[in-house]
């Protein structure tokens, strides 16, 4: 595992620390020696294929299943430990495919979980308002759509103003507008100093939103860092989209001749050029010699998906 986070991105002290964490089910090593640190106020992504060990790691961090070996600390307290109630009152959890009670209304659902968390029910209406469910507060959960259930599950996680949020596939079932609203709430929470750990299969959705992430595969953390740092570590090629007139396609090809570029593909109204990261400035310099034939230029970084497959495969 390589932690290559730039030091200047450090937003605070570690609040979630995992050291040498293992979870074995007989011969199956679901989690196999994970070291992880999530810092205060950070939005931290945990990504991986199905069966990579993300959910097991989540459950161990929440104290739902015992560790085979290693140690997890939340805000300095061991998980599980005698101080578990204090820890859990600081934590909000939205499970993947959250299941709530069909016979309760939205308000009753939050009242029930607020009582379990030991927090006042007075703020429940504000929480429902925050996730956009105030209009359905008196309706039974059985009448909710999948997206509404997910939002109610999120509201449950926000009860008691938790300092740490665990969000397992939180945007499952949400429409694009609701997803935007969801991440707007995460931004607000981040500004309030809430630490968040999030998993998602929709990598495009989280790549611009997480501060750092860990890529898990085969029960191990393969890499940890910012998206940009992981891109650089993987050294994946960049893509240039060069917009030129069709008659100038050949001129672009000639200008790049001799440079360490990969594919050069003429597409609809532009030329796509793939090049190594360290050849980026040389390509820009070569294109600058075309004397105004280049109408527009876009540099595309490798996506998080490219990075993910680079590490996980």
């Amino acid at each position: 595992m390589a932690d290559i986070s730039p030091a200047q991105n450090d937003p605070g002290a570690p609040v979630i620390v995992a050291r040498g964490v293992r979870k074995h089910y007989g011969p199956i090593h679901a989690v196999d020696g994970v070291d992880l640190e999530v810092r205060s106020g950070e939005l931290f992504g945990l990504i991986g294929h199905n069966g990579a060990g993300k959910s097991t790691m989540f459950k161990m961090m929440l104290g739902l299943i015992p560790l085979t070996a290693g140690e997890i600390r939340i805000d300095g307290a061991p998980v599980p430990g005698s101080d578990f109630r204090t820890v859990r009152r600081k934590v909000g959890y939205l499970p993947e495919n959250v299941v709530l009670y069909d016979n309760l209304t939205g308000t009753e659902t939050l009242d029930f979980f607020a009582r379990l968390k030991g927090v006042s029910t007075a703020n429940n209406a504000a929480v429902l308002e925050r996730v956009g469910l105030m209009h359905a507060a008196k309706r039974r959960v059985r009448e909710y759509s999948k997206g509404m259930r997910q939002r109610l599950g999120f509201a449950q996680a926000l009860l008691g103003k938790p300092r740490i949020l665990f969000l397992d596939e939180p945007t499952t079932g949400l429409d694009p507008e609701a997803i935007r609203g969801f991440y707007a709430i995460l931004r607000q929470l981040k500004s309030e100093g809430v630490t968040m750990v999030i998993t998602s299969h929709i990598l495009a959705e989280i790549q611009e939103r997480v501060d750092r992430l860990a890529i898990m595969a085969a029960g191990k953390v393969q890499a940890t860092g910012t998206v940009q740092a992981l891109r650089e570590q993987m050294d994946l090629p960049l893509w240039f989209d060069v917009r030129v007139a069709p008659e100038d396609f050949e001129a672009v090809r000639n200008a790049l001749g001799g440079l360490p570029v990969g594919a050069i593909e003429a597409r609809d109204g532009h030329v796509a050029v793939q090049c190594a990261r360290d050849a980026k400035m040389a390509v820009i310099a070569a294109l600058a010699t075309l004397n105004g034939k280049v109408r527009d230029l876009t540099v595309r970084e490798p996506s998080l998906e490219d990075v993910f497959f680079g590490f996980s495969d």
Binding site: K59, L62, G63, L64, F84, R85, T86, R88, R89, V91, Y93, P95, N97, V98, V99, L100, Y101, N103, F112, F113, R115, L116, K117, G118, G153, Q156
Partner: protein
């Protein structure tokens, strides 16, 4: 242990059964059966109407031994496995609650619902009959109601234990039905079978103690032994030594039948 956590879970379980009319339905079943038995129990002898509390309780005991264990097992078989299968158990356990508190909360909420419907159902009949009963008879009837509640709580405890051990709801329901068959239909036959096969040479002295291993038999003995008129009507119960038939002792045995399965369930659930 935080009692507020137990109360929160128990409150939800109890009010769920009130809201979905489970309590009302079960109470009505008890009322209708009890009234029918009280007024029409002697119809085969060519007479209708209430005759005596002893005969009524004796008939009700036969009914309750079949009905209450079944209702309790159906009520509790998916208490834990149902939450696990639906996917809501992880969310519950992520709260500041221990597994013991969750289990006790579930049990007490369900036991509350069962107790409420039993007391309401049979209590209503008690009120209807009260004009025709003296204080001693009322005391007998109250004892019958109390022992019915204990019987329900014992089988509910077994059901909750099964719900912790079972891998899924289907298996849990199968186990619950098998449990009902074993305790209500098979157990006494087995005990009698051993006696008959060995011509009474083996197991005769152990028989009264063997009956304590079945909460349904403990319930029967509790009710039958208190009434001279009907004691002779029953087979197994008549061979029960009076020294073992003290209500407080049988009450303790019933309490053990409640606490034992719950303790085993807690041990398993914590693992």
């Amino acid at each position: 242990m935080e009692f507020s956590q137990i109360a929160t879970i128990a409150g939800k379980e109890f009010w769920d059964r009130i809201r979905n009319r489970w309590v009302l339905a079960v109470a009505l079943v008890f009322t209708v059966f009890a009234l029918s038995i009280a007024y029409f129990g002697s119809a085969q002898q060519g007479a209708v109407g209430f005759r005596s509390i002893e005969v009524t309780i004796a008939s009700l005991v036969s009914l309750v031994i079949y009905l209450i264990p079944l209702i309790a097992l159906v009520l509790g078989f998916d208490a834990i496995v149902g939450e696990r299968e639906r996917g809501s158990l992880d969310l519950l356990l992520s709260m500041p609650i221990t597994r013991l508190e969750l289990l006790l909360g579930k049990y007490l909420g369900l036991a509350g619902a069962l107790t409420f419907s039993t007391v309401a159902g049979f209590g209503l009949v008690g009120v209807v009959l009260s004009a025709q009963l003296d204080l001693g008879s009322l005391f007998h009837y109250f004892g019958f109601m109390l022992s019915s509640v204990l019987l329900g709580c014992a089988f509910l405890s077994i059901a909750v234990m099964l719900s912790v051990f079972a891998a899924d709801r289907t298996r849990a329901s199968g186990l619950a039905i098998a449990t009902w068959f074993f305790f209500v239909l098979i157990f006494d036959l087995l005990v009698l079978g051993v006696l008959v096969v060995t011509a009474g040479r083996w197991g005769g002295e152990a028989l009264p103690y063997a009956l304590l291993f079945n909460p349904a038999d403990v319930f029967r003995i509790l009710n039958i032994f208190s009434m001279e008129d009907v004691r002779t009507l029953y087979g197994l119960s008549t061979v029960f030594p009076p020294a073992l038939a003290r209500p407080w002792l049988l009450g303790l045995v019933m309490a053990a039948w409640i606490a034992g399965p719950l303790a085993i369930a807690t041990w398993r659930f914590r693992r």
